[in-house]
Structures are given as structure tokens and as C-alpha cells.
Symmetry: D2
Subunit: 346 residues, 4 copies
Amino acid sequence: MVRVGIVGVTGYTGGEILRILHGHDGVELTYVTAHTMAGRMLTEVYPHYQGIMEATCHAFSVEEAAQKTDLVFSALPHGESMDVVPQLCEARLKVIDLSADFRLKEAQLYSSWYRKEHRAPAYLGRSVYGLADIYAGDIKEADLVANPGCYPTSVLLALAPVAGEDLLNWNSLVVDSKSGTSGAGRVPSPVLHFPECSENFRAYRVAEHQHTPEMEQELGRLAGRKVTFTFVPHLVPMVRGILSTIYVQLTKKMEEEEIRNIYSNYYSECKFVRLLPPSLVPETRHVYGSNYCDISLKYDRRTDRLIIISVIDNLVKGAAGQAVQNMNLVLGFEEGRGLDIVPIRP
Amino acid sequence: MVRVGIVGVTGYTGGEILRILHGHDGVELTYVTAHTMAGRMLTEVYPHYQGIMEATCHAFSVEEAAQKTDLVFSALPHGESMDVVPQLCEARLKVIDLSADFRLKEAQLYSSWYRKEHRAPAYLGRSVYGLADIYAGDIKEADLVANPGCYPTSVLLALAPVAGEDLLNWNSLVVDSKSGTSGAGRVPSPVLHFPECSENFRAYRVAEHQHTPEMEQELGRLAGRKVTFTFVPHLVPMVRGILSTIYVQLTKKMEEEEIRNIYSNYYSECKFVRLLPPSLVPETRHVYGSNYCDISLKYDRRTDRLIIISVIDNLVKGAAGQAVQNMNLVLGFEEGRGLDIVPIRP
Amino acid sequence: MVRVGIVGVTGYTGGEILRILHGHDGVELTYVTAHTMAGRMLTEVYPHYQGIMEATCHAFSVEEAAQKTDLVFSALPHGESMDVVPQLCEARLKVIDLSADFRLKEAQLYSSWYRKEHRAPAYLGRSVYGLADIYAGDIKEADLVANPGCYPTSVLLALAPVAGEDLLNWNSLVVDSKSGTSGAGRVPSPVLHFPECSENFRAYRVAEHQHTPEMEQELGRLAGRKVTFTFVPHLVPMVRGILSTIYVQLTKKMEEEEIRNIYSNYYSECKFVRLLPPSLVPETRHVYGSNYCDISLKYDRRTDRLIIISVIDNLVKGAAGQAVQNMNLVLGFEEGRGLDIVPIRP
Amino acid sequence: MVRVGIVGVTGYTGGEILRILHGHDGVELTYVTAHTMAGRMLTEVYPHYQGIMEATCHAFSVEEAAQKTDLVFSALPHGESMDVVPQLCEARLKVIDLSADFRLKEAQLYSSWYRKEHRAPAYLGRSVYGLADIYAGDIKEADLVANPGCYPTSVLLALAPVAGEDLLNWNSLVVDSKSGTSGAGRVPSPVLHFPECSENFRAYRVAEHQHTPEMEQELGRLAGRKVTFTFVPHLVPMVRGILSTIYVQLTKKMEEEEIRNIYSNYYSECKFVRLLPPSLVPETRHVYGSNYCDISLKYDRRTDRLIIISVIDNLVKGAAGQAVQNMNLVLGFEEGRGLDIVPIRP
């Protein structure tokens, strides 16, 4: 049994790692931290774990982490993770970091989009971007995995098969994403106050969302060229799920069937990416609670535009599930271990 | 007092006309029809009207309509309205038709998108498209007003100020709309079954929605050229509201402020269209139950793309509210009479 | 035109008074206060009022209130109102107080249930309990009206017709209430955080809710004896609405029809209380946004128990609507003026 | 591996059994029937199973069931199950029946509450009532298990510890239950149409719900006397979850702590029933997707009334989960096998 820890267990992504690891038979949870709840039982943070899991929350200590664990999930907010992760790496622990702190390769991009200086820029070159279904090879060799953001996961998986093929008119790319509210985290705020948020729909950070450079960086890498595009996220009055609607013109005429074949070949070995048959459109409910990413394709012949729609559970494939998939890769386990979770529906 | 009737009062748009007319002091509701509920009290259809309104539902009869009313709202489903409206017109009644049957000017377009033959094509040339805030002049002269669709209202009001200005690269236009569930009507279906629809988000009729030709026709008219674009609607787990996110590239470099001025000039006399200040994004809650259309502008300098976001209440501005506004125009009333409804929030 | 003010306009009840008064033609809103937003435009607090209402928020000053208004709604939280209301009364303004501060007649009850000392106990004897449909006579003479709580309104209207009739076995009384989330106010909290509250149902303050003594006081007054009962409130994942299910055994055998007659006689003159026919059960949607209280009766012959179910919109009949009804009574207006609001459905 | 089948897989309970069995390593799913979908792939019924489960739906045939399975879950609607279950029993298959058809011991009670004749009354005496945490001993010996209703599960588990103790004044018992919408099944209807059901709360079948005699029968058995009580169910705008609030007076003065001890002793060996500490109230989210029943106790000293609140996931503990627990008992497996599911939250 590999010993693993979770730093920052009180947030939604930390809690979701807990849930998934409970069904994983290759690892043992030996250390959880929660600085506001240090010394208290995990069931005080998560009453629904009564009778399921006994553990005490600790204040973070790198010595304790090093002593008790082999691998650590850092589920701290961005800005906090960059102080803790280098310590864990120095202690020769494997780290899966769920924050945004080690995803961008350029510290300057980080500071301009996240509005704070990066305090551990030396680690930006050492981290491997953990888009597990695409970069499994690199991840297997990694000590520090930067787990992708939720929006980027939904967008990159949707575009990866065609990104490197000179098929896309990149200047035409528009991504319109819609997310459930759990993506905004556990801290109460006016926007997520039930009476304000229920029966309401809105956009936010229009063309200014901080996941934009992460997507542009990775699309650029897949495309082999600089990519700039328009991204607008929206808030859906539901708890879990992201649906991204992606619009892009092609560089040449194609049949929808040809494009479909590119996708099905590209993902033929990826159990967590499901290309839907033409008769179906993705629904966030179809992946609820699971690690799947469902993708549909539609070629709009009237406008020569490809419309790709993808859905994920933002807390699973968009965070904790992909993190466990990355852990499996890092530890040499089968990549889907512990992740054979059927979507809950209804 | 002008005598008005509602044909097809049991649907959501019919019911919403009822609600609005109850607060209108210039008209008297003298005739309502509901073929499945003929002979029964309105309060059997709408128990929440107990103590508010006494009326009996009739089976439709053009003679009765002609005798009892001066103006009729037809709130029948598309495909049914085209059989009833010509009779009303022949009887020299003013008609506001809320169906899609008299919006398209070409019968062939109707049959290809709605998948049924048009049985009253002669009336297509006689109807006036009732986009009230734009075409008030024409509507005042009309006998038959084709009330716009909900999606088209949200999209056309958002694009009208710039459509005729040679500012838009029309080939780049993408419209991503999100609607509450009441737009799909009152008939139960699996997609709108609460356990399937709640906590779920999906697209539907991707690039195939029947409101597309209506928008293309009217944008073409505003632009003075043929317009073809990509439209994808989505279903939001809420009851009321449409938000449309519109992406379009400009033909030249502009400042956001310049564009904003075009909009504020264009709508300076329109009380129901509200241009939001730069600090705000539209929320469907901000127009809930009211006849407003709120619009925000964002110029994405990184990609030279204009992002226009609009919200309406699909049952009010997108249906019954605009229908009453059209009625006011047709009858020579002040256009906002009976429509001074404050949005309900929260 | 009577000049009215709202003290504490930023909360949900304050905002709802705004909405209702906008449709009232007998009063003019001349003064609004909001201590956190003093000096700023009302549209900064309520963007949905853009184009509808221009007003500036003030810091509270009794001199200004006295100079600018004839009647004031105090929509401050309980504990704050008791400092402000006496000043307004001293300035000879009429006051409708929406807080709990002047509802209980005994200061000691207040301090034990609200856990703070009452700082204006002298006013407890001067206030009139504003259950408008029951105590209209007293209210017309009042200078200070204590507007009832939302739960008490739903419960007292449901029990009033039979309370004084020696029909009820008071020891058997159980009230199980369910409320939408807007009743908890506008301040974000973990319980009302969308991801925690959506798709969740819970009880709270089981048999310990602070509205209990208010109900017991008023039921005791109606019954002419001391009343003690069990009250459990629950939180429903919706925004507006309260439904109370009330269980009580009768002191003698009766026919449901007899009981129904007592109710319809009792409320024959009350336009805002609607007794439903036996075929219908109340739904919160049936009163959404309106000042109605709907009531159903069911006599469970198997257990000799009467089940009364009532629904209100907690922000209207349970707060702002009843407050305006009280204002109408105090000012000598027709009691329903400005309150002819059709419930919004769907 | 034991071979199991599901008859009626297209309903919500059938689908939920599928989900749970997928995580059960002691059985193999060898036969599923769905009469409206016979011959089609399971993924056509449940697109979210793409890549997870391959199976073809069959029309029901008892010969095929007998040949392919050792145990069958009947997830047919009540009224249909009573035609199929006897055939399965005759074929010497073990049967877990999720309908109401074999729960009541008296055919006459069935016909009066379900409004249809019972066509297999001989089996009423042979079935064992499958309240797994209470009757495990009997269930282990059973060939035909009548899986309890969702409401009865929540109520019986809440009352069982004190039912046989002469502690309760049974005449005072009132049960007020609130259920999510999935309990009403998968067939669309006006009541469950999203625009009608969302942001709405209502009671239904007030004191007339068909689960009443099932609860009275089983409470009577636990109490050793005839029990009659008032039961009112309500519909909550959410998908999953039942919360029952139970009010009952005691026959003598007790301390809450004493009562708490009775419960914790009674359930000391039951892993799926969790007695909450006094500081917590049950929330349906705390058991979402899991087989737990959470229970809280509150003794209202002011009224000498015990208030017991219980929550379950109606589709799991209230249906499919308890059915699998019963299967485990019948097959001699550990009772929790395959049911170690962490509640999903948020």
C-alpha cells in the first residue's frame, strides 16, 4: 500500500479526493491537513463521513508529511500551493498539485492573470502538465504533476485530436463554457448565495478568465503554434458539471464522418474519453460523479464551422478524479484504478 | 376600453398574457379559448387565479371572436395558428400572433425548418415582424403582427445597433444561447421531467434550431445583405430567462467606448432595452417577470472580437410582454402601458 | 400623496417593499436608508432597478426622516430596529416595523428567545400586531405596527378561524413548516451556499425557532388560553415560499364540511386569504410574488385529526406585502391598494 | 459468481440497481428485461453507461430468467409485479421484489389503498418484509423478499428502537415526510414538469398515501398492537432524498440522553443506520447516493414530545440499495457487500 496525504482537505476538491481514494485499494490515506480545522476530526468537517472514515486533521508540517506519506495531493487554493509544494518536492515526495500554481510555464503570465507574483518560479519548468489522457507518458516520469484546471480539461480534451492536424482556423476559435457552482469553491459569497444564484444564469469574467492562458499554452503546444482565442465562462444554477461549446472553422472542407474518425482513433485507448454517437448530445448528468469526458461533434455545413461539445464533472475529471488518474500514472498503477465510478443518474 | 381575446390560453405564453393584461387599464379581456378545456372555468386551468379573475374558456369560434373582441392574441402552437389567424384577419380583427407561423417571409423556409407545409402563405407578406423596440413605426400600421421568437428577440436586440453599420464581419458570427425550461412549453416530456432536467445542462438542436432562419432573415434585413451564422441553444435548469452570448469580429479596430456610444444612441428612446455599464454583466434574474432586455458589451482586444451578452425573460420580452407592447402600438396606446413591471428579485 | 421612507433598504424585505410601492399610486417614496451604501445610488444596490427608479441611499437620520416622510417602514434586522423605531415614534411618524423587535409583549420572552436584552421595552405595549387580515380594526388606529414574522403569518392565518371556538385540542398541535431560502436573508452563509443548499433538504432549530413564542402569544390571544406547541421549520431548496402543515386533534367529531364553513365565513371579507376547494392542495407557486395566503383543509377521519395546510410568499404576505397592507390600513387607504399582484407562474 | 437478473430495468429503481451491482464483486448481471426496449442495447436506455456496460434488453420470459439467473430483482411497477413474481418463484428463483405488491399481508388492504384487486394473494404470506437492518434474520431464510417502500424505510428505521418499548403514545403519532422527485418515477407528468415543479413546494395525497398501511402494519408488528397514525408526504424540488419528521408524545418523562442510548444500543451492529450527535441535524445531502439512514433525536421538553428526523436516499436505502442489502442477506454474503458507497457531497 502506498501512503498518501491530502494537504487542504476542507475544500471541495480535497473532499472529492477523499471520496475517490476511499474506493482505491492500492493506497492508504495516512495524512490530511486542514489549517482551520487542525486537531479536529475529519467528521467535523464532513459529517457525511460518520461511520466511514476516522481521521484527524493536522496543521501542515513538511516533516510529518515526509514521515507519513509517499505522495501528497495539494488541494490548496492557488497562491498558497506555491509555498507548500516546493517543500514537499524538497522532501522527495511525489506531488499532485490541484492548484493553478504550477500549470503555466511562464511566471510572468501567472502574475498578469492571477495578479500575484510567483514565489517558486524555479518549479515551473519541473512540473508536468497532468492532462492524463493526453500526456500519460510524461506524467509517469513526473515527480510534480500540475493537475489541469476544470475548464481547460473540458476544452483541451475536446480539441486535442484535431489540434495538431492543420485542420483548424485558429483565429476563428471561440469557447463558450458553462459551469456548475461547485467550481467556485466552498467559501460563501453573494454570487453563490442560494437566493441570488438559483433560477439565475450569468456570464462572468467575460474574456478575462484566468484559465485562458493555461488553455492557450497547451493548445499552442498541441498545435505547434501560438494560439489566442476568446473564452467566456458562465455560471449554471446546478452544483456539478461543465459543458463547453467550442466553435471553430476548418481550413478545408471535410465530412463530419472524417472528423469523427480522427477523434475515435485518437481516443481509442482512452477509457475516460467517450465520443458520442451522432444521435446524442452531451449532458452533464451523463458524467455526474464520474471521471468521464463525453464529446460530441457537429459539422455545421451552412457555415463551415465545427462545433465540439464536451462535458465533465468539474470536481472529478476536472479536479480530483484526474488527480487520482495522475497518481495512478505516477505510481505505476493501472490508470483507471479506483476510478471505475458509474455516473449517478438521475 | 378595447375588447381583447386570447386564443389558446392554456399554454405558458397565453397564461402570461393573462397576467400582464390584468395590470393593463386600457383593455378588457372579453374572450378566452382553450380547446381542451372548453366550457370550464379559467381557474380550473390556473388555480392561482382564484379570487382574481372569473372567466370561462371557450372553444374557438371566429364568429364569437368577431362579436366579442377588437383584437386577438393567438397563442396557439405553430402549425395551428396558421389555420386560425387568417379567419381572424378575414373578420377584420387585429391580430398579434405569438406562434412562428407568420414570421418567415418565405413559405419554403418555413416548410424546411418547421417540417410542415405552410397553409396560409398569402399572409406571409401581410404580417409585420413585431420586434417592438426596432420596428415600432411599421407595427403601428399593422393588422397582423408576427410576434418574434424568444431567442430571436434576445439576439436581434443585441445586434441591431451595429448590424447596419458595416462594422461586423458577418462570417465570424456565433451565437450561443441558454434558455430556461418554460420556453419548451407546458407539455410534459422526458427532457423536462424534473429528475432528468434538474442539476443537468445540455445543448439541443445543435446548429439546427428552427429560430435560425428567423434570425437570419431579420439580421439580413438590418444588415442589407444575406446573413448566415451558427446558432446553438442550450437548456438551463431554471424556469425563466434567456441569455445569449454573441461573438463577432469587427471589420475595423474600434474602442469599446465607441461601440457603447452607438448602442446608447440607438436605444436612447427605448425604455425596455437597457445598456449596462461596463462594470456589470447581465443576469437573467435582473429581468425576471419583466419586459426588459439587458445588454452588455465587451471588446476582447486580444482577439479583436466583440462579445455582446443579452438577457430577457423568455415569457415576457420573449413572448407575452412584447406581444402586449405590440398591442399597445397597434392600438395607439403608449408603448409601455401595462408593462411597468419591476423584475422580481430574489 | 403620502410620503414614505424605507429604513434598511438593502435587505430582501426592504427590496420587496420597493417593488410593491412602485405599483402603489397613493404614496411617494421620499427617503431610503442603507448604512453600508450611504451616498450611493439605489441602482448600485439593485442593478435591476436601472431605468425604473432613481434614488440615493442615505445614512439614517431621524431628523431627515421626520422632515421627508409621514410614514416609515423599518426593515432593519431584529436587534437594530429597537434602537431606531423609538426615535421615529418620538418624531411622530407612523411606523411599520418588519423586525421581530416589537411583536412580543413580554421583554423577558424576547431576551430568552432572541438572546439579547430588549432596549425599548416601553414600546412593547404600544405596538399593534399587524396580522392584517385578522386585526384590521386595531391596525387602523395604530402608530406603530409590528409586522408579523413569515412563519407566524402562515400559521396564524391557518388557525385563526377555529382558534377561538373550543374546537381544538391544543396539546395535540404540531406545526411542520417548510421555507424557501430568502427567509434567511441576504447575507451569505455556508448553509445557503448554493452547492450546499441545492439538492438538499434539512430541518433547523428543531423545536427551538424564535418565531415560536410569537405564535404562542397570538394563538393564546385568539384562543383565550395559554398555548404551547411543537414547531419545526425546514429549509427548501427554492427561493420564495412557505408551506406550513398543521396537525391538530379536535375536541369533538365534526364533518370536514362544517369546518370548511367556519373558514369560509371567517374569511368571507378577506381578499388575500383564499380557501381552496377540496380538490386542491396549496402550492407555493400559486402565491409566488403575491400577497395571497392559500389554505386547504383535510379532516383525517382515521385519526380524528385536522390537517390544515397554508402557503404564502414569505417575502410578500410574510413580510413586505403585509407591511404595505398594514400601511394602507394605517393611512386609511383601501387595504389592497397596490397589492393587486397576480402570482407569477410558472 | 451468483447470476442475477433485473426485470424492469428502465425505471429509476432498476437503473439504480444496475449502478450498485456494477460495484459488487460477488454477482454477475446476466439478464435484464425492459419490455418497451426489448432487443435494444442498454446504452440506448442509459447513454451514461457507454463504455461501462454492454448488455441487451430482453422481453421478459420466465424460462429465460430461470435458465440465466439464480436471483432476480423485480423492479416493475406495482400491479405488474404480482403477475411476474409468482412465475419466478415457481421457477425456484430467489426474488427481491421492489414493488408494493408483496408488502401488505392482507389482500383487502392492498385493494383498498392501491385500488386494484390482488391477483396473487397466496404469495402475501410467503414474502418476507425486507427491512434489512431490522429483519436480517428472517430475510436470510427468504425466497421472496418484499423490499420496503421509500417512505416506510425512513419512518420504520426512525421508530423501530422505541416502538416495542411501551414508550410511545401511539395516538399522538404524526409523520410529515418530504421527498425528492425521483420517487415518483421516470414517467413525465404535469406535476413533475420542470417549470411546474422547480421553485415549488407542495403536499400531496394528504392523509391518503398508499404507503400508510404498510407503515401501520409494520409499526403494529414492532409495537405489538394496532397502530393508526397521520401521514402527509410532500414534494421537494430536488431529485433524491427523503426526510421524515416524526412527532410523538411519550408515555412517561424521560431524558433525551436515555432515549439516545436506546437508539445507539439498538443500532450498534447496523452499519447503515447512523445516529447523529446532538449537535447535528440530518440533511439529505449527507446520504446522497449512499445506503445510509441518518437519524437525529430531539426531546421537546416544552411539549413532552419526541421529534425524530431521518433521512435516506430514496433510490438507494429507499429502494435499490436496500434491495442489494437484502440480496446479500439472501445469498449469505456480508450484508454491506457492494454498498460501501461514500455519499456524494456537494
